[in-house]
Amino acid sequence: MTDQTSPPQSGVPKSGVPKSERTAHFVNREPWDPYVAERLTADQEKYYMAGQWKLMWWRFRRHRPAVVSMIFLALMYFSTAISEWIAPYDLHSRHSAYIFAPPQEVHLFHEGKFLGPFVYGLKTERDLETLQRVYTPDPAKPMPLRFFCSGAPYEFWGMIDATFHFVCPPEGGQFFWLGTDRLGRDLFSRIVYAARISLTIGILGITLSFALALILGGLAGYYGGWVDNVVQRITEIIKSFPHLPLWLALSAALPVTWSPLVIYFGITIILALLDWPGLGRAVRSKLLSLREEDYAAAAQMMGAKPARIIGRHLLPGFMSHLIASATLSIPSMILAETALSFLGLGLRPPITSWGVLLNEATDINVVAVNWWLMLPVVPVILVILAYQFMGDGMRDAADPYA
């Protein structure tokens, strides 16, 4: 509330203007805020007060393809947690009556009548000339699919016995949405399960390679001198040598007697061993320049140990950038695993990845007849594209000069 009482008029010197025309002297009794001109609106305040990571998130959100890719990848990774529910069949269940069955189409209308999603039963004949099995849908037998049903039994995460599936094959029939392979295993279920391996190997590998890059790049960048020299020479040799032949040699060196799970970790380590130099180089060159900063010198003088200076003071300064570059190298890891398994030197059954599935598609004569064996290519390309978009978005978001 403003105090509008007239100020005392006594003692005012006479001037040319008649008293009645002068503006009344006015004093605002409210406390004065000298920063009123600089006061931020709520939006501005939110922006200026936001932390580094929040700012990056906002910048990232503007990048539409990156956001879509992130949602897609999140769904894919979530699906690996519930593979058992999504896949109608088990990873290894064989249907010897349905070897190389083609994908079954899902229909909605039967003879003009709405039936809900259903498939036609498969009739098997043998082509007497080529001796191949020929499967034809039997239009007389529409078989509705079951949803949220109890189907083939499995052990959830290898621990809990259960039978719940999102989709089950119809009663007395089969549902091979993407066809079957040479042992009559449902390809769709196998692709769903294989995502577990293919998607995690990228994450695991990059974690290892990230750790190696931080340690070795950190040592080289912080200490310089001969440590730097040794690390630099190693990275140069690794970077300049073609990776694929080396990967091949290393994975051929894994003994056949090892269990598939150990092989899985072995392959991950091999992938990481050749991948870290790129990141390590980035860490090194950043540290080389950052260790000259005043705050690093201050920390050093206060007696902080190198590990603390690197980890607490120097690394956080470019962590976001590192994470963005690491994301960009996940797809190359997934691809490398796919390539190795495809060539038969990577993972071995019963561990199944998309590359292991593609290994079935190496013989072009088999693929030419059973085209659906190539379908695992689709998730591989989609995931790689998504990672690339997301990585691009993250890199732009992490760039302070954008």
């Binding site: 040799i237 032949p245 091949l248 690339q388």
Partner: protein, 332 residues
């Protein structure tokens, strides 16, 4: 300059030495040797003499000697173009690899030439026609090339060729020329068969180059000297070639070092998929059967190729850029 070259060449020797030793030991790492699987096969067939035969074979290949001795024998032989015996069919490795290496070399150099020419034309076109149809098409191709792995592309092309066109795009020459001496007909046949693998292998490299050339050239095109030149009435083509292009062209020389490992990696896997008679499939087979001499020779060949490629790129860069010539390392 001479000092620089000598230093670089001298540096190559220890690098190659380390790589060859590493590779040799890695291949020999897993338990068992190349005779094991052959003997298992003989035993399965009920061959009573299998074990004795195994001893003979091991004697022949010198597998009873310690690893380091075999390694030095192998390395010593290299200078006489003698790479030891291949375990698979008891043939000298040198006889197996000659033509394959030549074909690999041809394929890889053609690929690099393809990458250069294609990305140069497309990159310059995309930069000078920014935000037009051609630019978008080029960017799209570039993106696909970067993200679709080459062996999957090869697989899909193989399928499409086989099913829709009845072609088999595998192989590097028509069957009638296999094992025949060199002739014009063979040359034409090889050239025809090279087209698909070269495009498939070069795809990602081309895509990367287009991206970089376009970005560099766009940066240059906005500079004032270009505007000045245009204002003074220089013909557009002359203006483009004479000034901004010269700046933007640097990555073509600088990147061969990064390009070469990719091309070699790609050629190995693509030639396995397309079953080309290059080093790729044989290397894979040798690794699977633990044929140490053969696999190590191929890997050493790959290493030599890479190191020489790097050397050429370094020399070219040094010739172009005095900062490198005088020993200052470029920070990235």
């Amino acid at each position: 300059m001479l000092k620089f070259i000598v230093r670089r060449v001298l540096l190559m020797i220890p690098t190659l030495f380390i790589i060859s030793a590493l590779v040799y030991f890695i291949i020999d790492l897993p338990p068992g040797d190349c005779v094991t699987s052959q003997v298992d096969e003989l035993l399965a067939r009920g061959d009573a003499d299998a074990l004795q035969r195994a001893d003979e074979l091991r004697q022949l290949y010198g597998l009873n000697e310690p690893l380091w001795q075999r390694y030095f024998e192998w390395v010593g032989g290299i200078f006489r173009w003698d790479f030891g015996l291949s375990c698979q069919d008891t043939v000298p490795v040198a006889d197996l690899i000659g033509e394959r290496m030549a074909l690999t070399l041809i394929m890889e150099s053609t690929t690099i030439a393809f990458i250069w020419i294609a990305s140069f034309i497309i990159g310059v076109y995309a930069a000078t026609h920014q935000y037009r149809m051609g630019d978008y098409v080029a960017s799209f191709i570039g993106f696909v090339g970067l993200s679709v792995p080459n062996f999957l592309l090869a697989l899909v092309l193989l399928y499409v060729g086989k099913v829709y066109f009845g072609l088999s795009i595998g192989g590097l020459m028509d069957p009638e020329y296999i094992d025949k001496p060199f002739s014009w007909g063979k040359f034409v046949s090889v050239a025809e068969h090279l087209i698909i693998p070269v495009i498939v292998i070069g795809m990602s490299g081309t895509a990367g180059m287009i991206r970089r050339l376009r970005a560099n050239l766009l940066d240059e095109l906005q500079k004032q000297y270009v505007v000045t030149g245009r204002a003074k009435g220089l013909p557009p083509l002359r203006l483009l070639i004479k000034y901004p292009l010269r700046h933007a062209i640097n990555p073509f020389v600088a990147d061969i070092g990064g390009l070469l490992p990719d091309v070699i990696s790609g050629s190995v896997i693509v030639s396995v998929v397309l079953s080309l008679p290059t080093t790729g499939p044989m290397l894979l087979g040798a690794l699977k059967t633990q044929d140490v001499n053969l696999a190590a020779t191929f890997l050493l060949f790959v290493a030599v190729l890479t190191v020489i490629g790097m050397l050429i790129s370094d020399l070219a860069l040094a010739a172009l850029d005095p900062r490198i010539r005088f020993g200052a390392t470029s920070e990235k």
